[in-house]
């Protein structure tokens, strides 16, 4: 119960940070996606069992708030958490490396999906420009913020799960 509450509150905080701060702090035209980083870090935690549920909830809510068509954020976040779960089993001894790998692959998948969906919906998205101006800067920013977000999420999980076990 506590983990659900903490996850919901954290998502609200990360979403607010994303729209109010990180979406405005651009590198060329790229921005960091701290919601993606939060979901990746949350699902990489061994104790966490509710990551799928919150990924779907976050994805649906963000898809409704976003102008991206066809529930693209939901699909992207499910993809990120799938990679995260897959990698968690393979490189569980090095969670930080796992976080970097999930961030790298997750960002590329998310951006590729966004480009594909925008192309399908008729928006003119030149691949070269989107790679140079959006995808690579976003990837760099996500990799920079991956470690702090992972640290915060690990700390949160480390504090709430002992409480969860007590109750």
């Amino acid at each position: 119960m506590i983990s659900h509450l903490v996850c919901a509150l954290s998502l609200v905080v990360f979403y607010s940070l994303q729209t109010a701060v990180f979406s405005q702090a651009t590198l060329i035209s790229g921005t960091a996606d701290v919601v993606l980083l939060f979901l990746a870090a949350w699902s990489l935690q061994e104790q966490v069992k509710n990551s799928w549920l919150w990924t779907v909830i976050a994805g649906v809510l963000i898809s409704l708030a976003s102008a991206m068509p066809l529930f693209a954020p939901l699909i992207a976040y499910i993809g990120v958490v799938s990679i995260s779960k897959l990698i968690q089993k393979k490189v569980w001894r090095s969670p930080i490396i796992a976080m970097f790998i999930v961030t790298l692959l997750g960002t590329l998948i998310q951006q590729g999906l966004y480009i594909l969906i925008l192309q399908i919906s008729g928006t003119d998205i030149p691949l070269g420009i989107s790679l140079d101006h959006v995808t690579l800067p976003s990837l760099l920013l996500n990799l920079i913020f991956a470690l702090p977000v992972y640290a915060v999420v690990s700390e949160l999980v480390g504090r709430i799960y002992p409480l969860e076990e007590e109750t």
Partner: protein, 279 residues
């Protein structure tokens, strides 16, 4: 002769001497003598006073330090309070300046009614150029309403909920605005892009456009009211074998730093898409 005894003589001598000294002193004849005799006395008094004050300071300093520290703490807290007030006042001044600028725009364009709104966020996807404002249907904001700042055109409302709205900026890749060039009276289409750059399309090759030409909305298409300032032509490009020339436009609004906007309340956009024949 009893009066002239020795005691009386002494008294008279003393009175005469004292009177003489007073007379000499008052008349200034004794000043050098006084100086000569008083200077060592004053020097000694000064020396003694300085030593006394030093000794007194030394003995009373601990008490003063405590008092000074208390005073310092009080003053520091006052400084902190004043700094906080100053920051608040500066923030309010900034907000007031934005409000005054928006008010000026409203006064200079009295034909429209406005809803002032604050920008509270941006689109989560970096591929899209949208902002989120803090006014929604409860405040009278409706889908399609044009959004401006005191400088010029920003975009139009794309989605609305009760207390917030999403505004598509004219710099978005899917945004198309019908414009006119003020100097040449040419009509064209302004398009956004992935990177937020604006460009003019569909300009006939025989038209001459110069950098610095003012770009205004034309009102064609029914999405935006006419004659709203959009920006200035930055440069022109003509490709070989192309039917039209293109131009880059410098927007007047800095989309990165919009804090407040005005939603034009009494302009009804017209959806002409049903009238456009499908290919």
């Amino acid at each position: 002769m009893k009066f002239l005894n020795s005691k009386n003589i002494q008294t008279i001598v003393i009175i005469v001497v004292v009177g003489g000294v007073l007379f000499l002193a008052l008349s200034g004849y004794l000043t050098p003598v006084f100086n000569l005799s008083l200077n060592p006395l004053v020097s000694f008094q000064r020396w003694l006073s300085v030593r006394y004050l030093s000794a007194r300071d030394f003995l009373t300093t601990p008490g003063d330090v405590v008092q000074l520290r208390e005073q310092n703490a009080v003053l520091e807290s006052q400084v902190t309070q004043l700094q906080t007030q100053l920051i608040e006042m500066e923030e309010r001044l900034g907000e007031a300046q934005v409000c005054f600028a928006l008010l000026d725009f409203g006064r200079t364009n009295p034909q429209y009614e406005y809803i002032a709104a604050t920008v509270i966020g941006r689109e989560i996807s970096p591929f899209l150029q949208y902002i989120i404002i803090d006014k929604g249907t409860e405040d009278g904001v409706r889908y399609g309403m044009p959004v401006v700042t005191q400088q010029g055109l920003v975009g139009r409302v794309d989605a609305v909920i009760a207390s917030a709205s999403r505004v598509k900026l004219i710099s978005d890749a899917t945004s198309v605005v019908n414009i006119q060039l003020q100097s040449a009276e040419i009509e064209a289409q302004l398009q956004g892009s992935l990177t937020g750059d604006l460009s003019l399309d569909m300009i006939p090759l025989d038209e001459i456009i110069e950098p610095g030409d003012v770009v205004l909305t034309s009102g064609l298409g029914g999405n935006y009211p006419p004659n709203i300032f959009v920006g200035q032509v930055l440069s022109t490009q003509q490709r070989e074998n192309a039917l039209f020339q293109t131009a880059s436009v410098q927007p007047i609004v800095n989309f990165e730093s919009i804090n407040a906007v005005l939603v034009i309340d009494n302009f009804e956009s017209i959806d002409i898409s049903p009238l456009i024949p499908e290919p």
